[in-house]
Structure formats: structure tokens, C-alpha cells
């Protein structure tokens, strides 16, 4: 009997060391891990206390990204004691266990999920785990990535494996042509809105369809990155020529004969034609509008031309209560037009949207325009390499001229673990991934959207439809 397999099945089967039971648990071999300064310390301490070693140090790469300041002038100093301790302990751990580290002054430093693809650290067919939920990003390269906690980091460092339970499979097929100024961010936000913040809990999502094929590799990363906001523990796409082209000249990609062998193998990485998925979702890309979140969960999102929903019309009492609470926290009114919501801050950055293509999209909106007088607008590039490239392309000059602060790289105001923290009542248009209560600062309010939409909001001073830019009276 032959059984057709999904690409997810193939990823898991090819990495299974042994079966652990009949409930779907396996010991899963992991190819690569990326480490950061804030979720790894206790994992290394665990190894030290038990006198254990790192099994394959070369398969791990450490980056400082979460706690560092992003002020324009880069220094090695951390402004607070806790952050300083985390950065110095990461250095000590990498030194003692033989792991490569991109420290704060390294020209390759940046947000882990921007840096790892940029350096060619991730290839198709790999299974990757890391102590950050947005590890799903690597699915865009035909790898399978997922986030883990600190105990699992320790387990992975010591054994190169994880005890893993096989997920259910969901296929999201996207066909049709995205409208003008509608991006992959709008696509993934529309999906999260459609299936809910736990719509893919317990699932691995395969994205496919003509729309996905037509997207750039960077745009695909935005989709896989944010799939976790629908609860997906992993999201991936079959690798294609665009991925191979993207990887070809990267510093750590296979070279020579190895490259040829690898590409030959990578071309086989796709779901079998008759593979069965536990769930199927179809999306018509031509119907997607520019999206913004109005609430405190990523699924509380609507097309920009909508109004704040009326909780009275919601039948499910729990959803109704959650809606009331979100409207209250966000300081909005039922029936209010989304385009009437004024902002105090605009943030462009994060592992979701801070790559060079995102910055080009922003530059196209803000060229020869200026940030509204009551808005503080900052751009934090995803990596130092992205920053350097944006400078060499002249984008940085456009941003600065338009009144944006042009920063150094890091996670920054996406989760506000560094000094980029909003105050209570501040309202931010943000190209990030989470609009949770207090995410960008206690009492602060976050509206998620594409980088171009953030740029448009920064210019006009309120949420707006990017397609109307230049048409305002």
C-alpha cells in the first residue's frame, strides 16, 4: 500500500529518529536553532548545572536582538542592568559552548528571523526550532520552523532532538491577483480574521496556490511568520526556483557540488498530488482589501473601509464580551470609521515586516511627503545588513527627509523589551504581528497593518487607505 504524503509528513518522517508511542509522539531530529539573549539563559544554566554539553554547536547561531536599544548611534552598552546581564551571559555561553554569536556590534546583527535567512543559515527541507514563536518564518524557504520554550532549547542543545507530537494538516490555497497596494501582510491578516486566533491551533499550515507562487520570498516570509497568530505551530510552502535563487549567493548556502545535490533534493520537496489534508481553506486574493486590526487580538481585524463592530449584534456571549473589552481597551466607539482613528506613533519594523522590500514599499509612500506633526514615526530595519542596503539605495535619506527616525536594528517596539516603549493611551500604527493589551507598553494601543499602510497613517496622522494616498484634499 502506498500512501500519499503532505510535505509536512515528509519533513517529519525524514527527521524522525524513532517513534515514541502510538499517539503520534516521535523523537524529532532538528537541523538548526537560532538563539537569542532573552529566552536562552536558563537553558544554558540547565546544561551547566547538569554538566551537559551542546551536541552539535555548529548547528546553532546566536543573535542579540530583543533587548538592545535601536538608537541611531550604535554602542555595545545596554542601558539597563537586566538586558546587560542577558547580553553578557549569552556571550559567555556562546564562548563556553562553542556557538557562533552575532553580537550587537557585528555587521550581521539583526532580528533573528531576518538574519538567519539573510545569512543562508536555513535551507529547504530543514527542520528548525528556536526559542521564539515566529520561527514559523522559515517555512517560506521550504523548511519547517516552529517556536519552542526554554526547556526545549535546553533539550535541543543537549540532544539535537525534541520530543514532538505530530500535528494535523491544513492547506490554505490562495488564488487570484492581489489588488493595488494589497500585500502579503493583508493576505495573512485576512486569513487570521477568517479562521480566528486559534483557527489553526494544533495544525501545520501548507500555503499554496498561484498567489503564493507569484509572491517574492520575502513577502512569503511575512505570511509564514504571522501564521502563528492563527495558532499554527508551523507554516510552510513548497520551495521553488525563487527560493533557490534567493539562497544561491547567501554566505552559508551550499557551494559547488553540494549546491547541485541540494537543489536536486529540494526540487522533490512538495506534497504528493493526492495527499489528504485534515482541513482545507480557500482564499480569493482578488477580494482582499488593505487590513488593519481594531482590537487586542490579531483576528480582530477588518478591511480599512470598515467601521468598529457592534458587540450587541454578536450572538456568542464570550465573543461579545471579548469585543466589548477590546473596544474599551482600545478607546474606540461602536460604528466609528477605522479611517477616523488618529494615531500618535507609527512603527515600521519587526520580524514580520522590516526587510528591504518592506522598506522600499514605505519609501514609495513617503517620498516627497512628511510625517504628520503630531506623530512620532520610527523605522527599525530588520538587520544591520538591511540598514546598510537601505542607506546605499537612498531609502534612508527619503525616510529622514520625511521625518522618520532612522534606527539601528532589533526587535524594538514590536514587544518593547528595550527602551522603545509606548506610554498609556499612545496609539500606534504598527507593521508588527501582535496587538495584545500592553504589548507595546502598558495601556498602549496597537493597530497592525502592512508597512505601506503604516507609512500612509504616519503621513496623514490617522489610519487611512493606502490607495487614497495623494488623493486627500
Amino acid at each position: 500500500m502506498t500512501s500519499a504524503k503532505t510535505l509536512y509528513d515528509k519533513h517529519i518522517d525524514s527527521h524522525t529518529v524513532c517513534k515514541l508511542d502510538d499517539d503520534g509522539h516521535v523523537l524529532l531530529y532538528i537541523d538548526r536553532q537560532v538563539l537569542n539573549e532573552y529566552t536562552s539563559p536558563q537553558a544554558f544554566s540547565g546544561l551547566r548545572e547538569a554538566g551537559r554539553q551542546v551536541k552539535r554547536p555548529k548547528t546553532h547561531l546566536a543573535v542579540v536582538d530583543h533587548v538592545n536599544p535601536t538608537a541611531s548611534l550604535r554602542t555595545a552598552e545596554m542601558p539597563d542592568e537586566g538586558g546587560a546581564q542577558q547580553v553578557s551571559y549569552l556571550g559567555e555561553n556562546c564562548q563556553d559552548f562553542g556557538i557562533e554569536l552575532f553580537d550587537i556590534l557585528d555587521q550581521r546583527q539583526g532580528i533573528e528571523h531576518v538574519v538567519a535567512p539573510e545569512q543562508g543559515f536555513i535551507f529547504p527541507g530543514m527542520v528548525v526550532a528556536a526559542g521564539d514563536s515566529h520561527t514559523t518564518t522559515y517555512g517560506a524557504l521550504g523548511a519547517f520552523g516552529f517556536g519552542i520554550g526554554t526547556s526545549e532549547i535546553e533539550h535541543l542543545l543537549a540532544t539535537q532532538t525534541l520530543v514532538y507530537k505530530r500535528l494535523k494538516s491544513m492547506r490554505v490555497t490562495v488564488d487570484g491577483i492581489l489588488g493595488t497596494a494589497v500585500t502579503s501582510k493583508d493576505l495573512i491578516m485576512a486569513l487570521i480574521h477568517k479562521i480566528g486566533a486559534s483557527g489553526a491551533t494544533g495544525f501545520a499550515i501548507e500555503f499554496c496556490g498561484s498567489t503564493i507562487c507569484n509572491l517574492s520570498v520575502e513577502a512569503r516570509m511575512t505570511i509564514c511568520n504571522m501564521a502563528v497568530e492563527a495558532g499554527a505551530r508551523g507554516a510552510y510552502m513548497a520551495p521553488d526556483d525563487k527560493v533557490f535563487e534567493y539562497l544561491k549567493e547567501k554566505p552559508r548556502s551550499p557551494k559547488g557540488e553540494h549546491w547541485k545535490q541540494a537543489v536536486k533534493k529540494w526540487r522533490t520537496l512538495r506534497s504528493d498530488d493526492d495527499a489528504k489534508f485534515d482541513e482545507e481553506v480557500k482564499i480569493d486574493a482578488s477580494c482582499i482589501q488593505p487590513m488593519v486590526t481594531w482590537g487586542t487580538s490579531p483576528d480582530q481585524a477588518l478591511p480599512i473601509q470598515s467601521t468598529i463592530p457592534n458587540p450587541e449584534l454578536i450572538t456568542d456571549p464570550h465573543v461579545r464580551n471579548d469585543t466589548y473589552r477590546a473596544i474599551e481597551y482600545m478607546g474606540l466607539k461602536v460604528g466609528q470609521q477605522l479611517t477616523e482613528i488618529p494615531i500618535s506613533h507609527a512603527f515600521i519594523g519587526s520580524c514580520t515586516n522590516s526587510r528591504i522590500e518592506d522598506l522600499r514599499e514605505v519609501a514609495d509612500v513617503v517620498r516627497n511627503r512628511h510625517v504628520a506633526s503630531n506623530v512620532q514615526a520610527i523605522i527599525v530595519p530588520g538587520s544591520t545588513e538591511v540598514r546598510n542596503q537601505a542607506e546605499s539605495e537612498g531609502l534612508a535619506d527619503i525616510f529622514k527627509k520625511a521625518g522618520f527616525e532612522w534606527r539601528q536594528s532589533g526587535c524594538s517596539m514590536c514587544l518593547a523589551m528595550n527602551d522603545d516603549v509606548l506610554q498609556p493611551g499612545d496609539r500606534c500604527a504598527s507593521s508588527t504581528n501582535r496587538n495584545f493589551e500592553g504589548r507595546q507598553g502598558a495601556g498602549a494601543r496597537t493597530h497592525l497593518m502592512s508597512p505601506g499602510m503604516v507609512a500612509a497613517a504616519a503621513i496623514s496622522g490617522h489610519l487611512m487607505d493606502i490607495r487614497k494616498i495623494g488623493q486627500e484634499v
Partner: protein
């Protein structure tokens, strides 16, 4: 890890949907290199007023639910960031088990690794349980992992399912890394073959 067998205690309801790990453990408590002192950070923005005083409206500050051992939670609890600090904090606060319909994947695994039991119930049973423990007179329950039972104050019993692998690890308080290292030869053998077949990964 402390084994989990029969645990008695109060259960507190936190039934809103999508309670995320940013809310469970806000960013200002993530700056340590150890696991200490995280009980103070749990639900910080909801548990404390800006003055620093306990917020009397928050369930865990109300005398009937203070020192609860269990939380009965809404769907998708623990979504968002992978921060295990959320689980360390809950555990330090004395929480031994969480009961809900659905949990975010990373949070679920983090609980398991820390000996915090997660019980998943169908929506109807969960709502019923939520009602029962929302009444201060019936908020004391018993969880028996061996028997896979939740016993209420009126002695009625709700059964729950759990994978054998997870159950054993919790009952015995197993060290996961130590257990896996017992399979080191198997891992080495796999690795050798795998890297030979995929030489660009060496």
C-alpha cells in the same frame, strides 16, 4: 520536577478568550537570567493598580480565590510569545493545573516541561465547570491524574483524556533531557546516516 498525582485546591475562573503570554507575564519581567521572582509578574497589569496596590476586581485578589491551585481558562489560553517565563511565574504562584478547551501549542509544551498539568475538556463540560468554580462555595476541586478525574465538591466526577506519554512524565516528574539522552546511540546512528545522505547539511 515535582510529580503530579492527586492535588486538591481552589480553582479560579479566567474565561476570556485568547489570554496571551504578554498578559500573563509582561515584558518588564523578562530581563533575568534565572527563573526567580516571576510570581510577582503574573498578570501584573491586571493584578495590580498603577498605585501598586492589588486590584480588588481581579479574581486572584479576591479572598475566595486567593491562593488558587488551578485555573479554569478560556479558549486559546497562552497564545502569542514563546516566553516560558509565563509558566514559571504561574508555577511559582502555586498553579499546578490549567483546565480549558484549547491551549496555544508552545505554552502547552512549556507547561508539560514544568510539570504543570493541562487538561482539555469539551466546551460544554468546561462551561459547566467554569460555572461551578465561579461560585465561592464550590470552588474547591480535586484532580487525580492517575485516574484522569476532576472531582467537584459535591463528589461528582469529570473524566479527562491525556496522552500516556505526558501522563507518565507528569506522574513520575521525569527529566526530559535525561530520558532522551538514554537514546543517545540511536540519535548518533540517525545523525550519521542523515548527514551522509544530505552532505550539504554537515
Amino acid at each position: 520536577m515535582k510529580p503530579f498525582n492527586i492535588v486538591n485546591g481552589k480553582a479560579a475562573p479566567l474565561l476570556a478568550a485568547n489570554i496571551d503570554t504578554d498578559v500573563i507575564m509582561p515584558k518588564q519581567f523578562l530581563k533575568g537570567i534565572d527563573r526567580q521572582g516571576l510570581d510577582h509578574g503574573v498578570f501584573f497589569d491586571q493584578r495590580f493598580l498603577t498605585s501598586g496596590e492589588p486590584n480588588p476586581d481581579f479574581i486572584l485578589n479576591q479572598s475566595e480565590w486567593q491562593e488558587s491551585t488551578f485555573l479554569v481558562v478560556g479558549p486559546n489560553f497562552g497564545c502569542g510569545s514563546s516566553r516560558e517565563h509565563a509558566v514559571w511565574g504561574l508555577k511559582q504562584l502555586g498553579i499546578r493545573a490549567l483546565i480549558g478547551t484549547t491551549f496555544a501549542g508552545i505554552f502547552y509544551d512549556n507547561c508539560q516541561r514544568n510539570g504543570v498539568l493541562i487538561i482539555q475538556l469539551p466546551e460544554n463540560s468546561l462551561l459547566e465547570l467554569g460555572q461551578v468554580i465561579s461560585n465561592a462555595k464550590s470552588n474547591e476541586i480535586q484532580i487525580n491524574l492517575q485516574e484522569q478525574q476532576i472531582k467537584l465538591k459535591d463528589n461528582s466526577v469529570t473524566h479527562f483524556d491525556i496522552d500516556h506519554l505526558r501522563k507518565t512524565a507528569l506522574l513520575e516528574g521525569l527529566d526530559a533531557v535525561g530520558s532522551t539522552l538514554q537514546r543517545k546511540e540511536l540519535i548518533d546512528h540517525f545523525e550519521h546516516k542523515y548527514l551522509k545522505t544530505n552532505p550539504w547539511l554537515q
